[in-house]
Amino acid sequence: MRRNFTFSWAVVWLIGITVIALAAPLIAPYNPRLPVGAALSPAGDGTMLGTDGLGRDLLSRLMYGARYSLLSSLAATLITLSIGLTLGLLASGSVGFVDRMLLALANAGLAIPGLLLAMLFVAGIGPGLPTVILAVGLGGSPGFIRLARSIFKSLMQEGYVDAARALGAGRVRIALFHLLPNAMPQLVALATTHYAWAFLGTTTLTFLGLAGDPSLPEWGAMLDAGRTYLIQAPILSLLPGLLITLTVFAVHRAGLGLSTSSQPG
């Protein structure tokens, strides 16, 4: 009962910010990259939440920020998913050497904390938002490969896999048409929980300035940019920080809700 309550609120929150993110160009009062008035002007003075250190409208930047933060972590999650599912399927479908090599690769990757692995990729490619997305996607892969592999491995024991094999289905057919659809509920829950990590990862890397563009209207970058004015205008960094926290929390709760409902019994 309680879980359902928090689950519903998490979903409502996520739908809300997704709508704002999608509609940002339509509903944002100003251009998020251009100054609209005096720097650090207070709320209500022509702008709803005041302006930042360069005189840009905070509300518009937060709206576009939802767009940048949600989309870049979504892209990172999709990268992780495609790597994790491909290699996870490959590992569970093959016996012996390939499986063991892929598992060793995933374990080696897991010996480096995901955030550091992501930072390593940024070090290799050079700062920038596309790099951050790719890096977070790659950095989260080792864990996802291992989890996907264990889900597929456990499904391999099911009767319908034997039945399909007896009917002459090949490995690829079993993987794509039998394992993948049956693993879907667990994979969706796993991907949702992973999205929380990816969101935290992207906003952390942009907070560290690794997107290379300090004026980017993105929540992590805004959390960083607002630090300079912590006394004059604390809202500039506290608000994006709060939004990041609530979103991570909501995605996490949504993932928990999905994983409890996807497991029978």
Binding site: P113, L116, G126, L200, L230, H252
Partner: protein, 317 residues
Amino acid sequence: MVPLPNRSHLQLLTVIGRRLIEGLFTAWAAVTLTFFALRIAGGDPADNLLAQGLASAEQAQALRQQLGLDHPLGIQYLEFMRNLTRGDLGISLYTARPVGRVIGEQLPYTIALALSGLMIALALGFVFGALAAWRERTAEGRFAAAMSDLATALPVAFTGILILYLALMLSLAIGRPMAAPGLLLPAIVLGITSSGPIGRVVQAGLRESLNSEYILAARARGLPGGARLLWHAVRPALSPVISLIALEAAYLFSGTVVTETVFSRPGLGRLLVKSILEADFPIAQALVVLAALFYTTSHILADLAAIMLDPRQRRAG
């Protein structure tokens, strides 16, 4: 104490030996992954410097020769591994100083921060975890469990800025300008962040052991309430906590990256961010290699400690 029979000693040694070999393999694989990930993702580091306008074409070519980047990747890898076993981590591209020395200078700051952060995390985690398990159905138990959840959900960057903001407000309120943030504030931030998972594991472990048969047996032997919680229940609950500390110790490093940035504190985390922004790949590579080695070492130590603490795990291997 009855001495252990010889066979179980041998069994213990086999478990430990296998764990050591596994650990060595993981460490080697992680270091190899670091090397190739950086090369494959980045292509040629000299080209990166060129592209970012940090070096001229001639400088880039000279750098390529100096770093041996004109050799095949396999040769570069062997060279890298040979230097690594000798403790040679390379030369910084930006300052031309040995990477080992640059890291050595920043290391004490991060160790001080990580250790004090871990202390605070353990204190908070144990208090909230034990309270949540011991007073499970009361308001304070639920409050303690909620605190662990909250600590887990808070991003380090936000906790850091919130604590910094509160400290600034406090110093304004008492009319004294805040001195340069020392160790305490960053350690609190790091501690809060890591206390969440510790609290949850302590809670889960204690709840399980409080309901177990050996606690029932101890109670049947007439053990009083307080001592029962303290020793009998905590000891088996400790081994997952110790494994978690090993995990956390490596993740603490990710936390210090953010904490050091928030508080403008010197240390390895700041060094890592700086080296990435300056395209100083030998430093970034060395830091990730060290993190991976540290992670595998602390993991092995945690597993050995678990074997010592919980006799049931000696049979696992």
